[in-house]
Amino acid sequence: MNEQTRNLIENLMAEYVSRIDNDDLERWPDLFTDKCLYSVTNRENHAQGYAHGAIWANSKGMLKDRVSALREANIYEEQVYRHIGDAVRLITLDNDIVTVQSNFMVVRTMHTGDIHLFATGMYLDRIRIQGDTALFEERIVVCDSQKIDTLLAIPL
């Protein structure tokens, strides 16, 4: 992976986290290709080959709908995430498609001030590089635990 590709990917990762953690969710779907796969699953499902995701979207439109549902339809207590991630590990590099893997930890803070460790896991990404843009073609969020406390409103 050349330096330019690595920069594009690192920038994409940073934007992803920033748009979620800073409540800029309207711009979150723009980090995906029009046809894409975004799924929040867990280790057990992943190991068994089960395709179900607590959130499962195969188009940018579905990601936008997720955001508008959060804004307009769903009821949940005010909360914010703080993502902590590590360096991206290259798995495969195939012309325009880079497959990478990285770890994450998400701490959720509620409006009441309650703080708890909400999720840990890994991102399995297929990233499409086109010129000077990098976009997620696929992001599978594999949580270590199958348990989700109360609800999963904001995407991981």
Partner: protein, 419 residues
Amino acid sequence: MTDIIATSGGVKWPSDKVSTIPFQVYTDENQYKIENERIFKGSTWNYLCLDAELPEPGSFIVSRIGETPIVITRDEDGQLNGFVNRCAHRGSLLCLKHKGKAENLTCVYHAWSYDLKGNLTGVAFQRGVKRQGGMPDQFKKEDHNLRKIHVTEFSGLVFGSFSDDAPDIESYLGSEIADRIRRVLNRPVRILGHNTQILNNNWKLYMENTKDSYHASILHTFFTTFELNRLNQKGGIIVDESGGNHVSYSKIDPSLSNDDYGSQNIRSNNDEYRLEDPSLLDGVDEYGDGVTLQILTVFPGLVLQQIQNAIAIRQIVPTGVETTELVWTYLGFQDDDEAMVERRLKQANLAGPAGFISMEDGAVGNFVQRGINGTEEDTSVVMMGGETAESQTFRATETSVRGFWKKYRTLIEGQVPNA
């Protein structure tokens, strides 16, 4: 309200009706212990797992009845067996893995070993070592089998009971509920995935929520906006005779207007809201009866959901007075083609911990739990649609919530309340 009816030794109820619920039932430690004895270990059938999760002889899976750990096996004869997941020796957990295959079950602590029917077959060093130690002659292995429970299967659902008095499963369900389980689970299933939602509330608050058709179109905006579940659709509630089991169903009827909603200024009336990718709602009528939604519960802890083509099982597992786990199993069928699998994966966004139309249910029980803190002497009121628990042809009702309390009080107090 001054006549206190109390025959159970548990929380006192203001009357023999089921339309006024004392908040204490959600907070009282002693009540929780009584529930374990009279409900979970009482004459009930508790959902444990799917038949499909025990595919061959030697398959085992762990589950829970109340907080009691249970293991279910399929033995060499293909029969299902259930027992407390606890070694008869010192009480250690026996199966530590969630599921697997084994010829026998051996405790890690002292290697006591049991066959798949739960019979003790091996005791390490039973004759001692070098003729020293060992079990005395009066020790008989057959006196130390695993604690067995009754296990039964219905439409691929496996239930367990501690009680010799539980009726056969079909009588327990009631014929109308049984028919509607058969309707959904009408062919071999295929598991699409699992997750577990932690609910920070008493288990009963979740069961009531699921039986409460009154809230569905008010709390869950997504549902109403896309005409999946409006109170003015055709539909109704079926409550079985015991009260504990119910079905709520609806059929979309585009000819009915939304005037009832508009005039009441309910928050969820939002005609502006449209999906970017409406393929989420491209359901097919796979049962050929036009029923787009069927939520079914079996007392005390099973929910079977059909929301369009999103089929799921929810097992309600209490983990403390004020904590519960909701174990979700998302289902398709073995004859699903690729398009159908994709449809189910998409529609699975509707329910579950991140469900467009159900995420609120993960939180609202906790809102009640927090709301009643410190004033447990007060009561809630469930009088929508009357004070009894019969089947009704409309959904603006709390009849099946009252049904829950009818069954609950029958078991706790040993007599059927005025419902």
